[in-house]
Symmetry: D2
Subunit: 331 residues, 4 copies
């Protein structure tokens, strides 16, 4: 995620990277760790950064494991302009955090300063808060797929199923068996059955969207691709409708959004690769009384670093789209 922030900032006309921090890799240049970034950041080296080294920066992007952000952020707040946290630490109320992450929150007093950085659904919050908790990749996809229907009361708030497919980069760069090429290639499997932590984040965000408690069952799958998330969601229709009517409602909901495209054809993750775009479609199934809602995005961009920069742009008073591409790298 940190490397992807760097990749995107290389094309950002208003933000300049001043320093990059790392723990085990301190001392290496960016280009040594990420050869594709070498030409954009010649000579830039990872440092063992402490909070005081960052004082005065306009924006600090934190791409730390959950649990670590809430230790660092209290030291940053007040000394830097804005913190954009890519971990789960500031996305949920303290009690919900404890339920899904199994630990007490260490900085609950700061939660009120953080906006949930999904601009299409919570833009008001970005205007009112100082810092940003960038959403998880799966909650972004599921949220954009389901929000218009839930907000309109068109579907029931319980009995929802979210079935999602993710590329392997969602697992990060840590060395582990399932992340090995020879294990992941030619393989599809579900994981995190029943209790994946993004379930809580999806329910919390969507409950805020529709004003009633949302309950859903979420099953993520790992498939042999590097980037991309496809979320396929199922919700019970509360009244009769048609695909055409509902597609129009979705188009209206996202009419001014540069980064959400409502389409008729099934969205493909490939069309979003490298871009900050989420592609959404829906179908109304009369036969079973179900709304089928699908969203595709690049888990590292709109599902991560790109959306974080989009939120940072908002905090900084820049046009949200500044420095972010709507063009996918395909094939």
């Amino acid at each position: 995620m940190g490397a992807e922030v760097l990749r995107l900032l290389a094309a950002h006309p208003e933000l300049e990277v001043g320093a990059v921090g790392a723990a085990t890799h301190a001392g290496a240049t960016v280009g040594e760790l990420f050869p594709g970034l070498g030409a954009a950041y010649p000579g830039l080296r990872y440092e063992t950064l402490e909070a005081r080294d960052l004082a005065g920066y306009d924006v600090v992007f934190c791409a730390l494991p959950h649990g670590e952000s809430q230790r660092l952020v209290p030291e940053l707040v007040g000394t830097v302009g804005h913190v954009i946290d890519l971990a789960a630490d500031f996305r949920l109320p303290a009690s919900v955090y404890t339920t899904w992450y199994g630990a007490a929150h260490e900085a609950p007093g700061l939660l009120a300063d953080f906006a949930y950085g999904l601009p299409e659904l919570f833009r008001d919050e970005l205007r009112a808060r100082v810092h940003v908790a960038a959403p998880g990749c799966y909650p972004t996809a599921a949220g954009l797929a389901l929000a218009p229907a839930l907000a309109a009361g068109a579907v029931a708030s319980e009995g929802i199923v979210v079935d999602a497919i993710s590329g392997v980069s969602g697992r990060g760069r840590a060395l582990s068996g399932p992340s090995l090429y020879a294990e992941a290639n030619e393989n599809a499997l579900a994981y995190g059955l029943l209790d994946h932590r993004h379930t809580g984040e999806m329910e919390h965000a969507l409950s805020r969207v529709c004003g009633v408690d949302v309950q859903l069952l979420f099953t993520p799958h790992l498939v042999p691709m590097t980037r991309g998330i496809l979320a396929t969601a199922y919700a019970r229709l509360t009244s009769s409708s048609t695909t055409a009517t509902m597609l129009d409602a979705y188009r209206d909901f996202y009419v001014d959004e540069p980064f959400v495209r409502v389409v008729e054809e099934p969205p493909a993750t490939k069309s979003t690769l490298g871009s900050n775009v989420a592609v959404v479609t829906i179908r109304v199934d009369d036969r079973t009384g179900t709304l089928l809602a699908i969203a595709a995005l690049d888990n590292l961009v709109k599902g991560g670093s790109g959306q974080a920069i989009q939120a940072a742009n908002a905090l900084l008073g820049l046009p949200e789209a500044t420095g972010l591409s709507v063009v996918g790298v395909a094939p």
Copy 2:
């Protein structure tokens, strides 16, 4: 599918291949079209076969597009021992066929001679009929995942969701845009939204399993792998249960089956590659009152040619497992 029958028959101790038919490729050797089969079938050539050329054969495997089987089979019946049809033509009652395939059935009088070749669920039929309609890949996976729960009345027969992932070989060898490497690689997408034809086959087979009409919503997805199907199904529990209890019920259901493995960990398609094994697990989700059932298999083997040979073995009075491997090629 035809080539996969040949691959598997090369290891079958009781069946010998006498002739292979093809339309556009007649004249080519098996090894020219499928180099990996060249050493097993030196000199064997595809011919333009007509029904009369096949008279007297013990078994004929038909791997034709749907619609074509029902034209050929009437000529074969009576002149060959058993027809094993890999198309959809003899899987459904004529009226259900017409609903999902949009055409009248041309040989409805022969349907009663065909067993639905999913031995684990319809073994009795294999003992009573002469020919076999080998099931579709998705219905095999969904059927094996859901049958034990439906048969026991543990889940409701409507409101079921089947969300499945397939490798690209499921599309066959025809030239088409989505089958191109540069289109399919690094891409995940849903297709056949709401009305994929396997929906009808799943509903019909599972209705027979539980004795009441089953209704489900099926969404297949294409991901960048060659082989493998993973079906993830969701059904509403009719009473409180636990994962342990339900896993035991599934183990009991499949206790004597050499080709179905009930496991605790999420099944991975990779472990089934090249084998005739389906791997199944379930979870009981108290929170949402849902049974999550997952099955993995190789779409070309247990989801196709392997299962067809398993059914042929049964018709021929051979042990069902004859010539079929339970060992996956991994990594």
Copy 3:
């Protein structure tokens, strides 16, 4: 190739796309054919363009099969500012063209107006000519890998081997068996043995670089990836040297080039994905008296559309790097 020109031009600050032509797909929007480009070109439709429709354009990019460009270009010359041809038609003298492409050239009188658009090796030509023949993907990789050594006389001009690996996108979008996912995945094979047409282009270009006739044997390989070319070349050293000395010579040769990076580690295609960068390294093997030279690049960018835009920039008097990224999309 045409779609990749559009992808790159979407980020180009000085060029605006006025019209796009297609034969079979005329009438479709860009976004229908290439969903990832839909957001960048809303409403832009492919048209059946004829030469007269293009009169007055500053630049026309032609991405036609070889043979077709030489029929269209004579009609364009004089009516448009610059033609950037991505086919092989204007890369070679007429006689060499005939040798490798097996047909007489139909517009030999125009060849002198075309620069060979490999700016790092033939920049002078870009200043002297009106139009550009963009080089092939393999010749770009092999050319950049071998040129510094050949130009310095450090290696013999015959006995050279160029062994290259390419992603499947190099085959274009045409439907063909080897381009199918199920054929190309988990497969590596050589093709075009002894007589791949890029052999002639490599020999011609490198002969011009070193002033003597270069002879080489070129073997391309197809591997399961979408983008990327890795060329591994072997040439006989003419005198004793060291890796360090030769690396310095390569760094000097490319010192002012924004799009060629000379590195010590073996270049990986992944670091170049989506960017216009070629990464080069060499090794001097004392034991066998061989120079090993390796180049990695994105076949659709630096090996195709990106380099074409780089050359167009030069013709238009813009900085060569305008609108072209040096950042690879990884992972």
Copy 4:
């Protein structure tokens, strides 16, 4: 490699697995570590085996890192029938071992008891020795590609280039950055430049084949596939020849070999997946005076465990092909 021995032995009619050893994974069942093997080896557990636990076994397959075999083997010799070592420890004379592996050999006295297990080239040795050193994957491919030409004196013994492509499984199961899916996918790169250890093994084996010292430059490449090696070799012809003549000579050389197929079309790794077959072709290039020789095989089977079993069969007096498949799993 050990798991692949188990996969293949599951289909071997004459060998039964008695015990399996592991260091870190002792206690786990085979099916827990390798789900695809679970059905074939129900209940079989990895143990912390010491040499004395193996006394009396007919055959012991050792799949240890190089250096470890030479410590274990002295304890096994005399107490078990045959040792089949899959490491590099007993492939080379002690001095050559030291040159390429940088350490003194710890059991040089046992080297004379080991045959180099490449039956097609060194079958006599299998009849004369007690144990087997199974060859490396690259040396098997390069050896089979070049041996007929070198043995016939048709090509020079120096100036040879071997350029090879390998799937990621060649790196084994150890956790490392380049083995990660997100690093290896969509990536091609060379490694082991100039000094890969298999260079010494190739030179040693081929020198024995032709009776004079062979010198070659070997460059392996990693590409995004799991299995498969494709070796493309270049050697200088010593006299004029034709492709047809040389293909005949190759066919003659391998005429009685069930596991080497000489073909006209470029061999594809995919056709060999899972099988013990190597596919070979050659081309004579008059233009440059070069023999181009290509071999494809499955690095884990003919390049590893399959060939090891083939050699074990020979030692045990069984037909060499016992239990080994010639059928590739494709697609």
